[in-house]
């Protein structure tokens, strides 16, 4: 399992930058449905990186690292993939009853080393697997930090299931207290966030309702996980919501000095809240 993640991390690492907190752009996926009925149905997903939610107007989200899992845990294909100028799109064929996970998971290494009296950054796309070959001979003072990014969606056919919520123990992960496909406006929902498998206390959780283009106020909700990693949110209205959890990053040091290398993890999901 670990090996497979690392295998596509190199290509997926590009998308890491898109979701880094330094960038104003938001990485998102927009599903055609999250609550479905029927025995043989599909979900189509648009995926992009842009400021406004959910309007594809800047960059497509690369699909290299996109995967999907059926409720029984088997991996199912990402079908009809296409990447255009502003967005990517793909389908997942839903033939089982229960909750599917669709996710782009990228694990990379950030870091630096000293060579000939200068400090150099590790190039993009560095992973634990290729670290050795990316560090030139004679380099000293090698510092690395992990960067784990997860952008995922849940869609449910029939009754919601929780078989796919077993944490991997890597990066930020969502554990349902309220199932993410059982959300209704006016009701409160609780989610638990884990960082490397342990409850992630005091993490900022940003929730923004979609439809930004047609209103004046962003409507952003700034929440924080409790000591148990849990956060509660009451949905003001039905619609799609973008949820982002990112480990706080240390600021830059002296003028011009790069910020210290710190472990970072980011989580993005899109939740659909139905009308009561």
């Amino acid at each position: 399992m670990k090996k497979r993640f690392l295998g596509f991390a190199a290509v997926a690492a590009l998308s890491v930058l898109a979701v880094s907190p330094a960038s104003a752009h938001r990485q998102w996926m927009m599903p055609s449905s999250t609550v479905l009925s029927g025995d043989d149905v599909w979900v189509t997903v648009d995926a992009a990186v842009s400021n406004d939610l959910f309007y594809f107007e800047h960059q497509p989200l690369r699909l290299d690292g996109m995967k999907a899992w059926a409720p029984d845990g088997t991996e199912v294909p990402i079908e009809n993939k296409a990447t255009g100028r502003y967005r990517s799109t793909f389908d997942v064929h839903l033939t089982q009853q229960g909750t599917y996970r669709i996710a782009s998971i990228a694990d990379a290494l950030m870091g630096s080393y000293d060579l000939n009296g200068k400090t150099e950054r590790l190039p993009r796309g560095t992973t634990a697997a290729n670290l050795a070959e990316r560090i030139p001979a004679g380099a000293t003072n090698v510092k690395t930090a992990e960067a784990n990014n997860r952008n995922e969606l849940f869609v449910t056919v029939g009754e919601p299931t929780t078989t796919l919520f077993k944490p991997t123990g890597k990066g930020i992960e969502l554990v349902p207290v309220t199932h993410p496909n059982d959300l209704v406006a006016g009701e409160a929902a609780t989610f638990q966030f884990l960082l490397d498998g342990k409850p992630a206390a005091d993490l900022p959780v940003t929730i923004i309702p979609g439809g930004i283009r047609y209103r004046d106020q962003l409507g952003q909700m700034d929440l924080k996980t409790g000591a148990d990693g849990k956060v509660e949110v009451t949905w003001p209205e039905p619609g799609l919501y973008w949820v982002n959890v990112t480990t706080p990053q240390p600021g830059g040091g002296e003028e011009g000095a790069p910020p210290p290398i710190a472990r970072r993890a980011s989580y993005v999901t899109t939740l659909e809240v139905l009308a009561p």
Partner: protein, 173 residues
């Protein structure tokens, strides 16, 4: 029918003797659901779900009218649009469901009857009959009619929809 009448008479409830129908404990709920006639360019008969709620108990679906006869069970794709029912009960059912699912119905008063057992109302107490309609390329509407069991024979509750449902009424016999 004459048996319970005689039995009750023998315990001396002579007051009720004039209305023998009231003496038999009702065993059946008759429901009339009026599907409104709509003047729209594209009309499809609505999906309708009827279920029973009781505090502390799971919702019990008693009827679903949907496109039950499409090839490959394709009519199930829109069941989730009857969204409160889907969440309360529908999503845990298999379709078609014997004795519960049937074809969509045309505009006009539509009648359907349920036994007390079908309603899941075997225990005495307060219940709510919920009727929800969702129409393809149209809207959605939901009505609630509270009832208690044991029920009194005759007319029960009623409710009137404004958009996707007309008058809905229940009576007991």
């Amino acid at each position: 029918m004459s048996m319970p009448y005689r039995v009750l008479l023998s315990v001396g409830t002579g007051v009720f003797a004039a209305v023998p129908a009231a003496l038999a404990a009702p065993a059946t709920m008759d429901v009339t659901v009026t599907i409104p006639q709509l003047k729209v360019a594209e009309y499809h008969k609505p999906y309708v779900a009827i279920w029973v709620e009781k505090a502390g108990a799971p919702a019990k679906t008693v009827a679903v009218w949907y496109d039950h006869d499409m090839k490959a069970n394709e009519g199930t794709k829109w069941l989730r649009d009857v969204r409160q029912w889907w969440r309360a009960s529908g999503r845990s059912l298999k379709f078609p469901a014997n004795g519960i699912t049937g074809a969509t119905r045309a505009p006009g008063p539509q009648k359907i009857s349920f036994t007390r057992a079908q309603l899941g109302a075997t225990a005495p107490g307060d219940y709510v009959l919920v009727i929800e309609a969702a129409r393809e390329v149209g809207g959605r509407e939901l009505l609630r009619i509270p009832f208690t069991w044991p029920a009194k024979a005759g007319a029960g509750g009623r409710a009137a929809g404004k958009t996707e449902l007309g008058a809905v009424s229940v009576s007991f016999r």
